[in-house]
């Protein structure tokens, strides 16, 4: 098949599982330029095709898998793809980018994305081999660990098949079930695995042979890719990222006082060194792995055994988020135990972040006498008890006993139990916080609150990086503002601050991170604190691949478009400014650690929120205005919002 357009096929696969039919969707090619891919393309379909009152686990919800115009291009960083749907955890948007090889493989099979709708009458999987698509029975995959499913599919369809699947947790509709790509990369958040499970779809395996995608200016792309590879090797932050991966952050974040510890009661952990990157490298026989065409190669594969804690190379090693939330946040100071819990979550298809925080909610509530053995089925819960956590992880995935309650997530579980236990659910919009203590970085607090997907640490780069002016004369600045200068951010802002200057910084950073979600571009290569490739170069990559005469302005606008479309999606689902809130704990002093006594100023937070809405062109309830939506070129979204409020008035 000939690729007509550089950067995309203009072929999106629609799969109706109810009728077991497939169809090819073509778009006006101009829409690819407006949206660029990923989150934006997914939102186009979700907004147009999913009724606002759709139940997340009903056949009417749609699971959208999407790539971008740069996915599959031969350059580091383009290896992600998007999954989006209505979230069964928050009731709002679930939108998640996952690395690995699957997105590029889908593109090599001549597809830009897949819209999955309806519900199969029995468990099935999709097998996509170039243009050919089959919906096949998955009886033999039912109830199996993710690695077993991947092996079965590869034995059947060839070792080069790439797999995307929900786990047992997804089959059992755990509200924070994830989707995994080849057992190493994850659409972790928002319960997308449960949406997949609710459709009786266990996996999507794909193999493509069109491996040389059409690139408008291969020479230019090659030039940037070569520069990029050199930069990756000599840039100190990136080479360290290659050596230790994200696990290197645990100890420094603990020293700085922002490592979630004992369910966000403390910000430093006495056992941080025992679970940090250096210890992991030393103790667990590790090696590095990579995503499609990426020279950074930051992924870990680990193995090791200590007592009951066995870790295999069947799954990727634990990343920063998982180490913190299954480690310090539960008081666990043994890297083998942390890695074993991480592996168990990956094998069963559970988001490690929500799992860790749902467990820590239960432990704190037990300690405070809000939950008793009558609730837990006789279990006594305590900190640093990884054997019990492993049992509970199994119970959650199979919705057994107390695990059935925990499978709802900490917010829904607390709402069911009551007794004041809601206070200890560290969530926003029902989704658990990530491994970042916002009391030391208030931009993250704003991000947790206003994120369309519930608490999310990937809304924007974090405040501490932008607290100094930087040194423009250095070839590689360590950490400073200079990379943001082309956007007009010129002055540093303190970390614990939500003044107008901070809100402006946050918004620009949110656009930049939005660009990553739109382009399905890996944050570990181009976000300001890494800048192995600069923002201007990222725009050049888009131009070289597609042939568009584009600019940083146009690319950032695509990022902004996604943020506002996501907001509109949630407004249609009934969300308002009241849902942009944080647990009370964030406004109370940290109990211990380097930042002991620090808390967020509630007045500044509320004012910061209003400033954010106003700067975004949204009203005081956080609803995007007609003028802003028209300015972003998506005036049709305003029609949807107007229809909704007219229906509300009736």
């Amino acid at each position: 098949m000939e690729q007509k357009f550089a950067g995309f096929w203009n072929r999106i696969l629609r799969v109706d599982l109810t009728s077991r039919t497939t169809q090819v969707v073509e778009l006006d090619p101009l829409l690819y330029r407006y949206y660029m891919g990923g989150r934006n393309l997914a939102l186009h379909f979700l907004l147009k095709e999913v009724a606002p009152d759709t139940k997340p686990l009903s056949p009417q919800n749609k699971l959208i898998l999407m790539t971008s115009v740069v996915t599959g291009a031969p350059i580091s960083g383009q290896a992600r793809h998007t999954a989006a749907a209505i979230s069964p955890l928050t009731g709002g948007l679930a939108d998640s980018q996952c690395g690995g090889w699957w997105g590029a493989e889908l593109k090599f099979a001549t597809w830009d994305g897949i819209i999955i709708e309806g519900k199969a009458d029995k468990l099935v999987y999709l097998w996509i081999e170039d243009e050919h698509v089959q919906i096949l029975p998955a009886d033999d995959l039912h109830g199996r660990l993710t690695h077993e499913v991947m092996e079965i599919l590869r034995n059947r369809h060839g070792a080069k098949a790439r797999t995307l699947q929900c786990g047992i947790a997804g089959e059992n509709l755990v509200r924070y079930a994830n989707i995994t790509a080849d057992c190493r990369n994850f659409h972790g958040r928002g319960g997308l695995g449960a949406v997949m499970g609710s459709k009786n779809l266990r996996a999507v395996a794909v193999r493509g042979t069109h491996r040389r995608l059409k690139i408008a200016d291969p020479e230019k792309l090659n030039q940037i890719a070569t520069w990029f590879s050199r930069s990756v090797k000599i840039h100190p932050a990136v080479s360290l990222h290659h050596e230790l991966g994200t696990s290197k952050g645990i100890v420094p974040v603990s020293v700085a006082g922002m490592l979630p510890t004992y369910n966000f009661q403390d910000g430093s952990f006495e056992g941080a060194e025992k679970i940090g990157g250096e210890t992991m490298k030393r103790e667990l026989n590790g090696s590095t792995e990579t995503c499609y065409a990426c020279a950074v190669s930051c992924k870990r594969s680990v193995e090791g055994e200590k007592g009951a804690f066995k870790v295999t190379r069947n799954y990727g090693g634990p990343e920063y988020e998982s180490i913190g939330l299954l480690g310090s946040n539960l008081g666990v100071d043994d890297i083998y135990a942390v890695a074993a819990c991480n592996e168990r979550c990956n094998a069963l298809g559970l988001d490690t972040i929500s799992t860790g925080l749902t467990l820590s909610w239960a432990v704190e509530c037990f300690e405070r006498g809000l939950i008793s053995e009558a609730d837990t089925g006789g279990l006594r819960l305590k900190w640093n008890d990884p054997h019990t956590y492993l049992d509970l992880i199994d119970a959650i995935a199979s919705r057994r006993g107390f695990g059935d309650l925990l499978a709802e997530g900490s917010w829904a579980a607390a709402s069911k139990i009551g007794r004041g236990s809601e206070k200890y659910s560290m969530t926003s919009k029902g989704q658990e916080f990530a491994n970042h203590e916002p009391r030391g970085k208030w931009g993250v607090a704003l991000g947790y609150a206003v994120s369309p997907t519930g608490a999310d640490h990937l809304q924007a780069a974090h405040d501490p990086w932008f607290t100094n002016p930087g040194d423009p004369s250095a070839e590689f600045n360590w950490v400073d503002l200079t990379d943001l200068n082309p956007t007009g951010i010129l002055e540093p802002v303190p970390a614990e601050d939500l003044s107008a200057a901070k809100v402006r910084l946050f918004i620009y950073l949110q656009y930049i991170w939005g660009v990553h979600d739109v382009l399905d571009w890996c944050i570990f290569t181009a976000v300001p604190e890494f800048r192995a490739i600069s923002l201007n170069q990222l725009a050049e990559v888009v131009g070289a691949v597609t042939g568009w005469k584009t600019s940083l302005f146009e690319v950032l606008k695509a990022g902004e478009r996604g943020v506002t479309m996501a907001r509109a999606f949630n407004v249609r689902r009934g969300f308002s400014a009241d849902d942009d809130r944080l647990p009370d704990r964030m406004f109370e002093p940290l109990r211990g650690g380097t930042l002991k006594g620090h808390c967020i100023d509630r007045q500044q937070f509320e004012r910061g929120k209003q400033l954010y809405y106003a700067m975004m062109g949204w009203d005081e309830r956080g609803v995007p205005g007609e003028a802003k939506l028209e300015e972003l070129g998506v005036g049709w979204v305003w029609q949807l919002l107007a229809e909704r409020s007219a229906a509300g008035r009736q």
Partner: protein, 80 residues
């Protein structure tokens, strides 16, 4: 006087080659953590937080003899 310094993030490049992430050596009495970092060649804004013998302290703190110092750069999370 003799001290041991654990360095994290990009500061690791200042460590002794034989001991990744660790610098050990003699420094004059009265030096603060900032003096030490300047001596090791850290960038002006490169360090953000520190501990001496397990207790958090400002970068202006004077280093006592036989101290174990930990210094970290501005932190984001897995990125730092």
């Amino acid at each position: 006087m003799w001290i041991k310094v654990k360095l994290y993030g990009t500061l690791r490049r200042l460590a002794s080659p034989q001991t990744p992430g660790i610098w050990q050596g003699e420094i004059p009495e009265g030096w603060t953590i900032r003096d030490l970092l300047a001596h090791l060649g850290a960038g002006r804004y490169e360090a953000c937080a520190a501990m001496i013998n397990g207790a958090a302290c400002p970068l202006e703190t004077e280093i006592p003899a036989d101290a174990e110092v930990v210094v970290v750069p501005p932190v984001g999370g897995g990125l730092c």
